[in-house]
């Protein structure tokens, strides 16, 4: 049974203490009459790096968007950092301030400078003093290697730079979990690397990461586990080595043959 498939013990033991930070059980979601997520069971430990892949329309973006409730699930249970996601607005705001998300289209605030983009949430959600928030923002802008762009507006930056600002903006909230929704899909090829480099570096710091991506190189280098989804179901989840060289299911094999063919 697919839903009974547990992460390999080896993966679990590679993480220290491995406190469970996300637990999704029997989760279903519909868009109107369309059953987009079917019986999702997923457990993520602190510090785990998970790559989710699958054909378009398989529900992988929807899945990670359920984790900070940008999408609402209708059945099942999602527990993030010991808080269950329900209609309770206060809980949702708490979860959201601890779960960062990076979008395919960056979604920076175009009317604010890069520095303001990054310091806004610490100031208005964490009630941090402005000076302190700006120091924090600069620290993370340095980490994504664009402190010199702090005074510019997002519209003046390249796609790769914007995506790095978006990562810095999320990091400024000091999140426990980072979600990446196809972070490199909207980028020109020469900019993909600069964003992936930042993500690899972030992974090395021990951040819990769930990444929807087709960058299989990134998955091989960084992921503890690769999840393959199709038609709203988790079909298979394995460490990257096994996933790429020894896929179990026909659909996984077909998918891999399609994306690795070129």
């Amino acid at each position: 049974m697919i839903e009974k498939l547990k992460p390999e013990p080896a993966i679990q033991s590679s993480k220290d203490a491995s406190k469970i930070i996300i637990e999704i059980t029997g989760m279903h979601k519909w868009f109107g009459a369309f059953h987009v997520l079917k019986n999702i069971n997923l457990t993520v430990s602190t510090g785990e790096r998970i790559v989710i892949c699958g054909p378009s329309g398989s529900g992988k973006s929807t899945l990670i968007r359920c984790i900070n409730r940008l999408e609402e699930h209708q059945e099942g249970k999602i527990v993030v950092d010991d808080v269950e996601l329900t209609g309770d607005l206060k809980n949702i705001e708490i979860i959201r301030s601890e779960v960062g998300i990076v979008f395919q289209q960056f979604n920076l605030f175009p009317h604010l400078t890069v520095l303001e983009n990054c310091s806004l949430a610490p100031i208005w959600v964490r009630n941090m003093a402005k000076v302190e928030a700006e120091d924090l923002a600069l620290k993370y802008l340095e980490r994504v290697q664009i402190p010199e762009q702090a005074k510019k507006y997002p519209g003046q930056l390249s796609g790769g730079q914007q995506q790095r600002v978006a990562i810095a903006r999320s990091l400024c909230m000091n999140p426990k979990i980072m979600l990446f929704d196809e972070p490199t899909s909207a980028l020109d090829p020469e900019m993909i690397k600069e964003v992936l480099d930042v993500m690899v570096e972030l992974a090395e710091t021990g951040m819990t990461m769930l990444v929807v991506t087709h960058e299989m190189g990134f998955a091989t280098a960084v992921a503890d586990r690769v999840i393959f989804m199709d038609e709203g179901e988790i079909i298979e989840q394995k460490p990257p080595n096994e996933f790429f060289h020894n896929p179990e299911h026909e659909r996984t094999k077909l998918f891999l043959s399609q994306i690795l063919a070129h």
Partner: protein, 373 residues
Amino acid sequence: MAEATETYKVGQHPDLPPPRSEVGVIGWVKYNLMSTPFNVIMTLLAIWFLWSIIPPIFEWAVLDSIWTAESRKACWAKMEVPEGAACWAFIKDRIGLFIYGFYPADLRWRVNLSFVLMVLAIVSVLYENMPGRKFGLWYAVAFPFITGWLLVGGLGLTHVDTDQFGGIMLTFIIGITGISFSLPIGILLALGRRSKLPVIRVLCVLIIEFIRGVPLIALLFIASTMLNYFLPPGTAFDLLLRVLIMVTVFSSAYIAEVIRGGLQGIPNGQYEAADSLGLTYTKAHLLIILPQALKISIPGIVNTFIGLYKDTTLVLIIGMLDPLGIGRAALADAEWAGLAREVYIFVAVFFFICCFSMSRYSLWLEKRLSTEN
């Protein structure tokens, strides 16, 4: 261009200056006025047209015009050709009425002071770089109350009935009240119309659609006559106040629709990004959504404001005398009858200056808020 014909190694071609015909005055004239034979003809025609109308207008309005006279006849007697030039003496004679309406002459300093306070308030609101702007904004919030007290009186000042208000002062009162209250109300209506709560949404839709579906004149008539029937007997409810409410409500409905358009122009990703950072609905709207939506809506908002400002002349239908009403009343004076051109030109110029300023301010603001390259 000797330089352009030079050859450079592949990959080492420098940027060369453009040919002279592409830039500067010559380039501009060439592309804008003389680009085709048809364009040349149009340019010449336009020059001829301007040449034939501007000098006569200038002569009529400025060079030959009369600035001091006792009456229309005295005015015409001073001209080479009777009625051949503008008689601004008429406007000068009535300028007090045009500015203050029937406000008691010895109390007009209160109106003058209000004008000064108004300019200060407008500058504090409109210019972000003004020193001490934070204080200026608080002052702007207090301004309507200070002015209301100054103009109407009470609390130590002689009371003046609002039916003595008139002229430019009345236009400013209605225009500025309408503009400054309809923007926040319009924003609330627009947000309400997009609310997820059906009660609020339906209520806002009803208000907006009803107000937009009724002509302003009808609303003004309702204000001047029918409102009394709805209110408990004996309630004295100032006519000016009723007009202010109607004008504000009317323009709020239009502003709401303009801002709704702006809100629809904000990509969903902006809401998601704001939500995902843990911002509440109010903070997300104040910090992220509204600043962008209002910026997109500036042309539409200012368009509505200009419309509202000019529509203030409609109050003459219910017997209030704005500059146009004062002018029409002045024309009824036998001493001055027949000088309609001067009156209407004066009123038109007054409204044009106000509306054109608004229009230029909005362009300046759009430019300043632009964050593209």
